[in-house]
């Protein structure tokens, strides 16, 4: 605890320089028994000083003593401006723990720990927020609401125009979250041409075997399926790893590097079909480049926004969605390719010229993404 406070204090000179509008941060967590809500409320000391004149000696510096001795007054001031109603009855505020502090990007905040004792929630919960609106109408209350039995939170913004809002009693169900991200994942592979082209480039030769430098039809469907399975599995495992690491913010790479490497991977996979440098171990290539494709998926996932508290579920859902999309592509591609594998059309038209076309398209993407040739920067 002390170490964290010390680290935070070191960050202060940098952070205090930034200006942002006034916000307070609330986390409301309903208990499963439906008559209590635990509240953590972070309010900027600067805002509290503006209304309560905490800086008694007027030297422009707030000491912990100046804050601590006014803790009851701060709590009273705040709770008088926050009403939680179950049915038509206001819940009673209780202080759950002594006032503490926390650092946010724009300074130090008082942290109030409260408990609301309520009637049973069955008739509906409503939150009325009115902190600081009288002195700063641009103030906002940023609420994270965790419904009874909910794992994830819902974000609500309270402002002068929406100072009262109902709190939904049904949490966004796990199944709902999973399904939503599954759909997003499927959709992304479907519109992500670069991923599809990479996969197809690796799969094109799966229905053939190279004999003495020339392509021959694969002898059996089983052999082709094993080849497809190896490539798809390697790609899946690899991009799942990096997608998870990036989504959990363990690793991040600049999107330009990721996007241009993805384009390069498509070029490489397509050209490999012509030269045949990597013959037997296409799955290794699928794995290596799959790692970088995972970062590409992660940026999409980041744009969608991840639910706090249901991160794992969203990740699994998105990953599954990507797999469903892949399987759909494979299910269409393999039977057709297998049926056509004996034809010259497939071996020359599709494999050779198709690969050249794919390589050209991807090379164009690469130049676009890597050199960013539009604009002066």
């Amino acid at each position: 605890m002390r170490l964290l406070a010390f680290l935070a204090a070191l960050l202060l000179p940098l952070a205090a320089a930034a200006h942002k509008p006034s916000d307070s941060y609330l986390t409301l967590r309903a208990d499963a028994n439906q008559h209590e809500v635990a509240v953590r409320w972070d309010i900027a000391l600067r805002d509290l000083d503006y209304v309560l004149e905490l800086d008694r000696d007027g030297n422009g510096q707030l000491t912990w003593g100046e804050v601590r001795t006014r803790a009851d007054e701060i709590t009273q001031y705040a709770t008088a401006r926050l009403t939680l109603e179950a049915g038509d009855k206001a819940c009673a505020w209780q202080t759950a723990a002594p006032l503490q502090l926390d650092k946010h990007s724009d300074g130090t905040y008082a942290v109030l720990s409260l408990t609301a004792k309520c009637e049973p929630f069955a008739k509906g919960l409503r939150l009325h927020y009115a902190l600081l609106f009288d002195v700063d109408p641009s103030h906002r209350g940023l609420v994270q609401w965790v419904a009874p039995g909910g794992a994830s939170s819902q974000a609500l913004v309270f402002g002068t125009d929406n100072a009262q809002q109902p709190l939904a009693l049904q949490p966004a169900g796990a199944w709902q979250t999973l399904r939503q991200y599954l759909v997003d994942g499927t959709w992304h592979i479907w519109i992500g041409y670069d991923h599809i082209l990479f996969l197809l480039s690796l799969l094109l030769p799966a229905v053939l075997v190279r004999v003495a430098g020339d392509w021959e039809p694969a002898p059996s469907l089983k052999r082709s399926l094993v080849e497809v399975l190896k490539v798809v599995t390697a790609f899946t495992v690899a991009h799942s790893i990096t997608l998870s690491l990036a989504a959990l913010e363990v690793i991040s790479l600049p999107s330009r590097i990721v996007e241009s490497t993805i384009a390069a991977s498509v070029v490489f996979a397509a050209l490999n079909n012509l030269r045949g440098t990597i013959e037997k171990k296409r799955w290794v290539m699928a794995f290596v480049f799959g790692l970088i494709h995972g970062f590409g998926f992660a940026s999409v996932l980041a744009d969608l926004g991840l639910p706090q508290g249901a991160l794992a579920l969203a990740l699994v859902g998105f990953n599954l969605g990507v797999e469903v999309g892949q399987i759909a592509i494979v299910a269409v591609f393999v039977p057709i390719a297998f049926a056509l594998r004996r034809t010259a059309f497939y071996r020359h038209g599709v494999l050779t010229f198709g690969s050249i076309a794919v390589a050209l398209i991807a090379a164009y993407w690469f130049v676009q993404r890597a050199f960013d040739f539009q604009g002066p920067f």
Partner: protein
């Protein structure tokens, strides 16, 4: 070009703590926060003392307006949006208490335009102008809002009103600014240069504004040396103006002089729009602080998104495109920004983002603006040509 970050660096970034848990300081004497009144800025103390007087005399309309105006000036000078909120709160009771007070409608209009409520602002300023036809501020602000919305005929009409009540240089600057957007760049530049030379008595703030506008016009006329001279003369006036600093920093960045831009802005991290320029300059100059500036900006844009703010979408677009290299997100911001703001730099942002995201059609509104007004700027004309090529 980017270079690959070393694995050690990636790990270091990953391990830095995002949020500290709540804590209890060790002793009562520990300083936990520095309040803005510590800045040796007498204007902060002055407005605080006026606010205390207001608490004792809540029905004093003039005092109320004085407090609001001072808070707004503080917001402009320090880039601190809390002061805008305080100003709004100060004037709130006056809608009923002083409905015929021109100064109230003026302050209200100015605050509304700050939060991008342009239609509300135009209406308030119209009322202020009707109640006090001799005040130059309502037509000046209305002209500025018309310009932002690319309504040049309306802006010129306001400039004409201004001629009767304002300093001649002010009216001339207003007219020249509108004309320079509608195919008369060179005559507008020449006329404004002449007017400035003839107005030695003009207030410094007005001179600064005119110099900034002249610099921008000179850039479009490709008279680089003249543009730089205007910027330097404006800076020499000794007034802090974020808009001037931003415009000069952009000039330096476009001329590949990022080191000078960093020197110019080094104390301005607290301003979002200037921090963006710092991040761009840092990146261009390979400065060690560039990553820190970029991550500070990222955090601020994320914070703004959480509270639903849309005040800095042009900057957000530029950040996504030029710092993060995320063209798709840049285009989203640029499209939304162009729906409310249609100045040349907004159009340029939309065109660049549309090109980078390979969605040339998204820039159609900016192209239509460029063509229908005959806006003269070789940089924008070149972008338009690229967009036309990309559509084929």
């Amino acid at each position: 070009m980017h270079r690959f970050a070393t694995p050690a660096l990636i790990l270091a970034l990953a391990l830095s703590p995002a949020f500290a848990a709540p804590f209890t300081p060790a002793g009562d004497a520990e300083v936990v926060e520095r309040l803005p009144a510590t800045t040796n800025d007498p204007s902060v103390r002055r407005v605080e003392s006026l606010r205390k007087q207001l608490a004792a005399r809540p029905f004093d309309v003039d005092l109320r307006l004085e407090v609001a105006r001072r808070y707004f000036d503080l917001a402009m000078a320090q880039g601190d949006p809390r002061y805008v909120g305080y100003a709004s709160a100060a004037i709130a009771p006056l809608e009923k208490a002083a409905p015929d007070n021109a100064a109230y409608w003026l302050v209200r209009g100015v605050l509304q335009q700050y939060s991008h409520d342009f239609n509300g602002a135009l209406a308030s300023l119209k009322r202020a102008g009707e109640l006090d036809p001799q005040s130059p501020e309502p037509p000046a602000w209305r002209a500025a809002i018309d310009m932002v919305q690319a309504k040049y005929a309306d802006a010129l009409a306001e400039c004409a009103k201004l001629a009767a009540v304002a300093h001649p240089l002010h009216a001339q600057g207003c007219t020249a600014y509108a004309q320079a957007n509608t195919g008369q760049l060179r005559p507008a530049y020449d006329a404004l240069t002449k007017a400035l030379a003839e107005s030695r008595d003009a207030p410094a703030g007005l001179k600064l504004w005119v110099r900034t506008r002249l610099a921008e016009m000179a850039i479009r006329l490709q008279r680089t040396d003249e543009a730089e001279r205007h910027f330097k003369e404006a800076l020499a006036l000794g007034i802090t103006d974020q808009f001037l600093l931003g415009a000069y920093a952009d000039f330096l960045l476009a001329r590949k002089r990022p080191q000078e831009a960093i020197a110019l802005l080094k104390d301005w991290e607290r301003s979002d729009i200037l921090l963006l320029r710092l991040a761009l300059a840092g990146k261009a100059a390979d400065d060690a602080r560039a990553k820190g500036w970029a991550s500070q900006l990222r955090e601020r844009f994320d914070d703004a998104a959480k509270r639903g703010d849309t005040l800095h979408e042009q900057e957000a677009a530029r950040f996504e495109l030029d710092v993060q290299g995320n063209a798709a997100r840049a285009l989203e911001f640029a499209v939304r920004n162009y729906a409310t703001q249609k100045e040349a730099r907004d159009a340029e942002m939309l065109m660049r983002a549309a090109l980078a995201a390979n969605q040339p059609k998204a820039a159609d509104p900016a192209l239509a603006w460029l063509q229908s007004n005959g806006y003269e700027d070789p940089a924008l004309v070149a972008l338009a040509a690229q967009l036309a090529g990309a559509k084929k």
